[in-house]
């Protein structure tokens, strides 16, 4: 036991002397338009996964983004930045809107091949499908609004269409029906589901 005590005292002393002194880095802007995506976790951006917060490539993991910034990134076609922005927001405030735009951004990454390794493209496609399916599973009644903030659109329908567009298969009892005005809407065959 005495040896253990001595070793502990010595360890304290040695470790105290071994401290490095690199200065911290002053923060400046990050180029988010040029980001490319590297798959860190195949469930990233799919509720309730929160691994995006520990992804070092995520420039937003430590900051809150306004909704305007998130839409601005989406509008700029900065698909990787937009994904990180929406996926980060999804962990902080789980909504169908954040889930949908995270999935949509993944689809954008897939379509533009904005990945470090093309071998990851298939994974990204599947992630996008899983994100859209998550909208149907977890946020079936969520809506998003147009730029005026007044006209709602059901995200379930958009998610359904996104899955189809990516060549995926919608899980669950969702069906696409024609609305009286000629549009299409995803509804559940037997009704019910999570909110």
């Amino acid at each position: 036991m005495n040896k253990l005590i001595c070793a502990t005292v010595a360890a304290f002393a040695l470790l105290a002397g071994a401290c490095d002194q690199d200065p911290p880095e002053a923060r400046f802007g990050v180029d988010v338009l040029g980001l490319v995506y590297e798959v860190d976790d195949p469930n990233e951006g799919v509720y309730p996964n929160k691994s995006v917060l520990s992804n070092d490539n995520n420039p937003f993991r430590n900051s809150d983004l306004s909704i305007e910034t998130r839409f601005a990134l989406t509008g700029e076609g900065a698909v990787v930045a937009a994904f990180y922005a929406w996926a980060t927001q999804l962990t902080r405030e789980p909504t169908g809107e954040s889930q949908f735009y995270a999935a949509l951004s993944l689809a954008g990454i897939y379509e533009t091949s904005a990945v470090t390794d093309d071998a990851d493209l298939e994974t990204v496609r599947l992630m996008s499908i899983a994100g859209a399916q998550s909208v149907l599973d977890h946020f079936p009644e969520s809506v998003t609004f147009d730029v005026t903030g007044t006209i709602p659109t059901r995200l379930a329908t958009l998610a359904y269409l996104l899955i189809e567009e990516l060549g995926g298969r919608v899980e669950g009892d969702w069906v696409l029906v024609e609305t009286p005005d000629g549009g299409r809407e995803a509804v559940r065959g037997s009704g019910g589901g999570d909110q």
Partner: protein, 1056 residues
């Protein structure tokens, strides 16, 4: 016996000296049987007690007649009470009933004397003598367990202090003047093995080796004994003076300093025979000898069961030896009797303040002179089992039955021989005592068989059954839920069954179950233990709710082995290690009172192991949640004394995983960590120096964090006024250190401490108490440096205690800066938000920059019942004790964000924290025992406070609370103005109520238990509160303020 008298004896004595009350008229006992212990009670003044000496030895003569002390260490202390209980504070009728019953039993055995510590009023000494013919040996402890000097509690007593000696001598003088003419007083007895408590420090002794230091201290002790003896003898010629030494320790100093001592008294535990004891006393002191304690316990530690016959055999041989060494038998001739230890079992003795209603079988010391249950390396002396009578549980009035063991009957038969009869010789003594067969006087074979069967059937037994029946009548106005506004009635039934099991002699397990009947939906305080069994939504049945109708309320297990003791706990509290080397409080206390019921938290859960023998000093604790909010972990501590009386402790805590959820915002799990601390302490006379090093949070090395610094006049990052830096946790952020100096000098005590804690060098909050009940303490968090200092000055029972704190985080809180995306450049400028413990490696919360001032004023005439003791509301025995504590906190910097808890238990971070404000609080506490059976506690508070969440409103809150009991009645209540509601979330979200009032009245089947509060009682309680826009459940569309009320009636039944 070690620890066998209360430390408050000295204080009680101080109170009693002043009131040696008027005598009580009683019939006198006239019969006299010389020498056999049947006392004469013919005198109305003091008895003339003399030590008689001739060539054949010594005898005691009382009023001219030979007298052998067939004495008893007697006391009356019901199960469930401890050293604070005093029979003499009860009503006269109660005392008389007790004395009549017990003295009758004692005299039936042949007993003729009892030993009593100061505190017994003179009139009761007289009553015991005149009614029962029993003499009293009055014992002043001479500060054995500490004493009050000038209003300051001193423990251990410093016999080298001139003032202390003066106070003791003055007490002795008062005692003698007050009691010397009391009929029935047999002799004065000083101390109680004080030579075993020679541990005070002084500059004079600190540099001496331990033995020499003790001897130096012993000189002070025995010279004081000598002075006390002289004080007595100068004032009282009628009674001899004895001391109660620990065996024959320091007998040469007794020879040197106690020249006028009449009788040598000793507590002796030498087994079947005291061997050369009488001869040594004769040779060295040449005075008569009296056992002031001797005997054996009635528990067989080896076999794990009661054994009254073994105890009786020790008593038989020891008493035979007394007879043989008495006057004129041809041996030492100096034995004048003994005070058998003891009359009845002391259920309080093991741990003294907990498990008072449990007859602990823990053997606390080893003595190979008791071979029947001695096993090398194991303890065999069971402190709680020394009675020659077993003790029954008290009834509702506090009376209990005694059940004499074999030892009682052995003494009864033995005492029938007159030691001083002409015909009593060595041969007749040996024949008489030798003819007493303990096995014949013990329980009959049938009773033994029954006892064995009982042991078998009571392997699992029901300790208690409790039943709570409550009705709730509620209503209100201006509430968000319309249904709550109507007058509604509902009821609650909740049942508790406490089981215990003893599968082997060294394993004890306890289990408490709770079963629910109906669970109400209308209580206005909607969080309560039984809520778990309520329907999920009002009016909507939950098909699974019945699962929660049966719950484990608590469980514990104790496993006592030769080399370890294991204590398992589930919803049962444990203490911290702060007083035993855990300098950084890594293992906090886990006694949560009613809070774990309120939030239905299944904590703490785990077990502790204390190692023994060669691993003495090593402790381990392991469990999924050792304390509320703890991550699953194992923690170990090793503590030992190094050469030079340096105390060393090493603590290591390894968290195994991170807990995901919390129940309330104050117990949010912190990031998984690993901590090691080292502690060294040394006492230098009155100064104690403690230093410690902490290494904590290494799993967080490499984690990113953000920090900000004021940009001064520059616009800063995103024009925020701050420069923002990205950094990561480094090795140096894991170190912490702390230094503490305490200086104790009776009325003046001072401490100073300082600490430096790296960013993630997180410890626990300081739960130790330094001198007094200061609230301003180190938070224990990492990321700070701090300094504290405080002083207590006590005089004439008043204490003034200023205290100061300064602390500052190494890295300040993070401001809210909104991120910005610059379209033309494609650059994103990340914003910042206040840190929180869920997402960041460290935060600024309790460690925010502050300058704290505190002034504590206290008045406590009975410092032995320490005002800041956890159960002081039950123990305080002062007529009036009070304290006022004012704390002012000058916060100089804001905080990071706190964590909130959703109704479903999910956690979230508040987006911000309230800004820095100056906050203050005053707390007043008064506790009073103005007349017998009346107890009053009054508390008040006022203050300026802030929410824990993000609301910026500062509130000014006030309130008073009281509780009072008289006999079996208990009344309590409170009135709070603009205060937070009762639950954590009220403060998190800054929910306040303009008025909160409560009044409660109950009547118990027994006197109220102030601390534990579980007894049979019938009561009614009213609650009322008004609601405004800041209140929970207030409907903002209603006009004016809202209101809620609740009338609760309750019947609680407790079978024990």
């Amino acid at each position: 016996m070690r620890g066998s008298i209360p430390r408050s004896v000295a204080v009680i004595a101080t109170l009693v000296f002043a009131c040696a009350c008027a005598p009580i008229k009683t019939a006198t006992v006239a019969s006299t049987v010389p020498g056999t212990g049947k006392a004469s009670a013919a005198t109305r003044g003091p008895n003339k007690v003399q030590v008689y000496k001739d060539v054949r030895g010594f005898k005691l003569k009382v009023d001219g007649k030979d007298f052998m002390v067939f004495g008893m260490n007697w006391g009356y202390l019901p199960i469930g009470e401890n050293y604070n209980y005093s029979l003499w504070t009860k009503s006269d009728s109660f005392i008389k009933q007790v004395l009549d019953k017990e003295m009758k039993l004692l005299t039936a055995m042949g007993g003729n004397a009892i030993r009593q510590y100061v505190g017994i009023p003179a009139r009761w000494i007289q009553y015991i003598y005149e009614k029962h013919g029993v003499y009293t040996i009055l014992n002043h402890p001479l500060g054995r367990y500490g004493m009050t000097v000038d209003g300051v509690w001193q423990s251990p007593t410093n016999y080298a202090s001139r003032r202390t000696r003066q106070v003791i001598r003055s007490e002795i003088v008062k005692l003698v003047e007050g009691y010397k003419n009391t009929p029935g007083l047999l002799m004065w007895l000083l101390g109680n093995e004080n030579n075993y408590g020679l541990s005070w420090k002084s500059a004079e002794t600190e540099n001496l080796p331990k033995e020499q230091a003790n001897r130096a201290r012993a000189k002070h002790l025995y010279s004081l004994f000598g002075e006390a003896i002289d004080e007595i003898k100068a004032r009282d010629k009628n009674h001899p003076v004895a001391i109660a030494n620990g065996d024959l320790g320091y007998i040469d100093l007794i020879v040197q300093y106690c020249k006028n001592m009449d009788i040598m008294g000793s507590n002796v535990y030498r087994g079947y025979s005291s061997r050369d004891l009488f001869d040594v006393v004769k040779k060295k002191l040449d005075v008569p000898f009296l056992y002031t304690e001797f005997g054996a316990d009635a528990y067989d530690a080896k076999r794990g069961r009661e054994d009254g016959e073994a105890q009786a055999e020790y008593l038989r041989t020891l008493w035979q030896e007394i007879y043989e060494h008495s006057h004129g038998k041809g041996r030492a001739g100096n034995a004048i009797g003994g005070l058998t230890f003891q009359w009845a079992d002391g259920w309080w003795k093991y741990r003294q303040e907990v498990n008072l209603d449990v007859h602990d079988t823990n053997a606390s010391w080893a003595n190979d002179a008791y071979p029947h249950d001695f096993v090398k390396g194991e303890n065999n002396m069971n402190e709680e089992w020394f009675g020659i009578c077993a003790k029954g549980r008290p009834d509702e009035d506090g009376f209990y039955e005694l059940y004499p063991r074999t030892g009682y009957f052995v003494l009864k038969r033995g005492y029938q021989l007159d030691p001083y009869a002409q015909t009593t010789t060595l041969a007749t003594i040996r024949a008489h005592w030798g003819a007493i067969k303990t096995e014949e006087l013990g329980p009959s074979p049938a009773v033994k068989r029954l006892a064995a069967q009982l042991r078998e059937t009571s392997r699992v037994k029901v300790d208690n059954v409790r039943m709570d029946f409550r009705t709730f009548t509620t209503g209100g106005d201006g509430l968000t839920e319309n249904s709550r506004e109507k007058s509604r009635f509902d009821h609650l039934e909740s049942f508790y069954i406490d089981l215990s099991s003893r599968p082997t002699k060294n394993v004890t397990a306890k289990l408490s179950l709770n079963v629910l009947g109906n669970v109400p939906v209308n209580p206005i305080d909607a969080i309560y233990y039984e809520k778990r069994g309520a329907t999920v939504t009002e009016g909507e049945e939950d098909p699974f709710a019945d699962i929660d109708r049966l719950a484990i309320y608590g469980a514990s297990v104790t496993w006592d082995e030769t080399w370890f003791q294991l204590r398992g706990f589930f919803r049962k509290g444990h203490y911290h290690w702060g007083y035993e080397g855990d300098f950084f409080n890594l293992y906090p206390e886990a006694n949560y009172g009613g809070n774990i019921d309120l939030y239905n938290a299944n904590v703490p859960i785990g077990f502790e192991i204390d190692f023994k023998r060669r691993l003495e000093g090593l402790k381990l604790a392991f469990g999924p949640e050792l304390y509320w909010g703890a991550n699953p972990q194992i923690i170990g501590k090793y503590e030992r004394k190094l050469p030079g009386e340096v105390e060393l402790a090493l603590v290591h805590q390894e968290e195994i995983a991170q807990r995901a959820a919390g129940a309330i915002s104050t117990v949010i799990p912190t990031p998984r960590s690993r901590r090691t601390s080292l502690y060294l302490a040394k006492e230098l006379g009155r100064l104690k120096v403690e230093v410690g090093a902490l290494w904590a949070g290494t799993p967080l090395i490499g984690e990113d964090y953000e920090r900000s610094e004021s940009s001064g006049d520059a616009p800063g990052y995103l024009n925020s006024g701050y420069f923002v830096f990205d950094d990561e946790i480094r090795l140096q952020d894991t170190f912490g250190s702390k230094v503490k100096l305490t200086y104790s000098n009776g009325p003046i005590n001072w401490y100073a401490q300082g600490a430096y804690k790296g960013l993630v060098a997180v410890g626990g909050s300081d739960q130790t108490l330094t001198f007094t009940g200061w609230r301003l303490k180190e938070s224990g968090q990492g990321n700070q440096y701090n300094a504290l200092t405080g002083l207590t000055f006590t005089r004439n029972n008043f204490q003034v205690a200023p205290n100061f704190l300064y602390q500052k985080p190494l890295v300040g809180p993070l401001p809210s800066i909104e991120g910005y995306f610059d379209r033309p450049s494609g650059l994103y400028f990340p914003g910042t938000t206040p840190r929180n413990v869920l997402d960041d490696p460290f935060v600024v919360r309790g460690n925010q920059e502050q300058l704290g001032y505190e002034l504590l004023l206290a008045y406590d005439p009975t410092p032995a019942t320490f005002m800041w003791q956890f159960d002081n509301i039950k123990r305080e025995d002062a007529r009036l004790a009070a304290s006022v504590d004012f704390v002012y906190r000058n916060y100089r910097q804001g905080q990071d964000a706190n964590i909130g808890v959703f109704a479903n238990g999910g956690l979230f971070a508040f987006p911000a924290a309230p800004p820095a404000e100056d906050l203050w609080e005053v707390n007043v506490r008064v506790i009073s025992n103005p007349v017998r059976n009346l107890r009053i506690l009054a508390e008040g508070f006022a203050g300026r406070g802030q929410a824990r969440g993000d609301d910026t409103r500062v509130i000014n809150r006030y309130g008073v609370a009281f509780r009072s009991s008289y006999l079996r009645w208990l009344v309590s209540g409170h009135l709070k103005i603009d205060d937070w509601g009762p639950f954590d979330y009220h403060r998190d979200f800054n929910f306040t109520f303009p008025v909160q009032a409560m009044a409660d009245l109950s009547y118990g089947a027994v006197a109220p238990d102030w601390f534990y509060g579980r007894y049979t009682q019938l009561g009614v309680q009213g609650r009322f509160r008004t609601l405004d826009k800041y209140s929970d459940r207030f409907d903002p569309t209603s006009t004016g303020n809202g209101a809620e009320y609740q009338i609760l009636s309750y019947l609680n039944i407790s079978l024990y």
